[in-house]
Symmetry: C2
Subunit: 296 residues, 2 copies
């Protein structure tokens, strides 16, 4: 079982992520909460009301427990114990021109010998900037290509499918990459996936620092702020209705405050809100679709 080794590395990266983000924000500081429950323990780091970052949660956890029937059904595996570790993070800016971003890396093992990694990074701009979207996807592709050029196309489509808000017929944002159940059958498999997930986790705050630098100083109108709050409503809908991590966390009696720190601060729901035709908001809606190839 390698999860403990992975956990030690992920725990260090959590700290690096937070210090990089603090530097990029300038004034915001991460608090640290340690939680311990029957299922395991975690470190929740939260920044609220920074100069660009309005609310950020960077969670590390390392848990172990009985592999119950629910999990067995969900995962199609037979086992009696599981062990898992991961970093999970969402960053929200107060500036509508700075996107919301999400990153997760995780390593899961069962005592029947099964072991796998999952994770990804995806971006949710309130105003899609196609140039930035291409750069974001290219950055992810470059990381994937270092390991295997067949990964990006598959994981990019997986993100399109996963981050889809069925009842709105729209994607959560412009996607990114998403992968799950990448099996570890040998030591070299393990080293590869550990390296790939740590590359992703390291790239995450660097990507966001760039997005903050490009957009964090931009002034915005009340109408643009209002649009941001409405789009955040969609984010909440996705996280509470569809997101498997949130569901699994809440159902397994995880740490509610750590799980729901992912939700944005100020949110708004307006009945039948429709952006004006040809507006920047309408153009963004047109780009919240599956299957857009940002990199040609």
């Amino acid at each position: 079982m390698n999860v403990s080794k992975t956990a030690a590395i992920y725990k260090d990266i959590q700290q690096t992520i937070c210090s990089t983000l603090e530097k990029a924000d300038g004034t915001g500081k991460f608090s640290l909460d340690v939680w311990e429950k029957e299922i395991g323990s975690g470190l929740t780091r939260v920044m609220q009301n920074g100069s660009i970052i309005e609310k950020a949660g960077v969670n590390f956890s390392h848990v172990t427990g009985d592999f119950n029937e629910n999990m067995a059904h969900l995962l199609g595996e037979k086992a009696s114990k599981f062990e898992a570790t991961g970093i999970s993070s969402i960053l929200h800016s107060g500036n509508p021109f700075v996107p919301t971003i999400h990153m997760n890396v995780r390593h899961f093992e069962l005592d029947n010998g099964s072991s796998w990694f999952g994770g990804g990074i995806d971006l949710t701009p309130m105003y899609v900037n196609p140039e930035e979207a291409r750069w974001f996807h290219q950055t992810l592709k470059d990381i994937c290509d270092k390991y295997d050029t067949s990964l990006y196309p598959v994981w990019k489509n997986w993100a399109d499918d996963y981050f889809y808000i069925e009842h709105r017929h729209e994607t959560r944002g412009i996607g990114g990459i998403f992968f799950d159940r990448v099996a570890v059958n040998s030591n070299s498999d393990y080293e590869k996936m550990l390296s790939l997930t740590t590359d992703l986790a390291h790239a995450y705050p660097v990507i966001y620092a760039e997005l903050m630098k490009n957009n964090g100083h931009r002034s915005f109108t009340e109408a643009e702020k209002h649009w941001q709050k409405i789009r955040r409503g969609r984010y909440v809908e996705f996280n509470l209705i569809y997101d498997r991590g949130t569901k699994f966390g809440l159902e397994s009696d995880g740490n509610t405050e750590s799980i729901l720190v992912s939700l944005p601060a100020e949110v708004e729901w307006v009945y039948q809100h429709q952006p004006a035709p040809e507006s920047a908001e309408a153009k963004t809606l047109e780009l919240l679709k599956k299957g857009i190839e940002w990199i040609s």
Copy 2:
């Protein structure tokens, strides 16, 4: 099959509810949207930005369709067609001293002969006023007692259990009554449940008018408004994670905007928000528990 008869009556009551609420609010007006989908049709009436009511949805629907496997599993019934009608409503005030209220009445029939009613009214104050809570429960009890004095105690507990936010270990509000699958086996059963549900639906705007009259003029601080937005976050969590009506609606490709008009306008999530000890907010939290007997 009596659903069409019920539907005609419910449709009229929807209008009465809206006109009573418009009168009580003074300035707000309900819009009307008619929707038609493969599954059936509905009338969605919405008020936004009234003088006391900030956002109100009063939905009527009458739907019919194939009884699919999902429903069969959920309801433990075998049938090939279903028909259903109902009124579903949630009212949010901009004033933190005016509670949020929810009402639903519904009649469901299958082509295997099964027929039942469900519904209820429940109240979610941001600041629990025990005297008002007693009056609210007494009003519901009086309606139930007209039909059968055994109903209120059972339906009151049912509301406590149903409107429970498991991951927060708190109830959504001070409850009320909730009932489901009340079987209709004879014409007198039907007349009784039709009458009881229409009594409830008629009482609903009258109850709210009273709460608006008592509290709608009260001034409030920014801190009280902030607390209201945080409490609304819990309401959103309940509706998106647990509420069966919302789930059923979104999964059956119902009318998304009509279903989610139930969500409050402005909402806020703050990491680990804790009210000050002994504050009015802390006292409210202490009353968000199952099993409080408001009427002794």
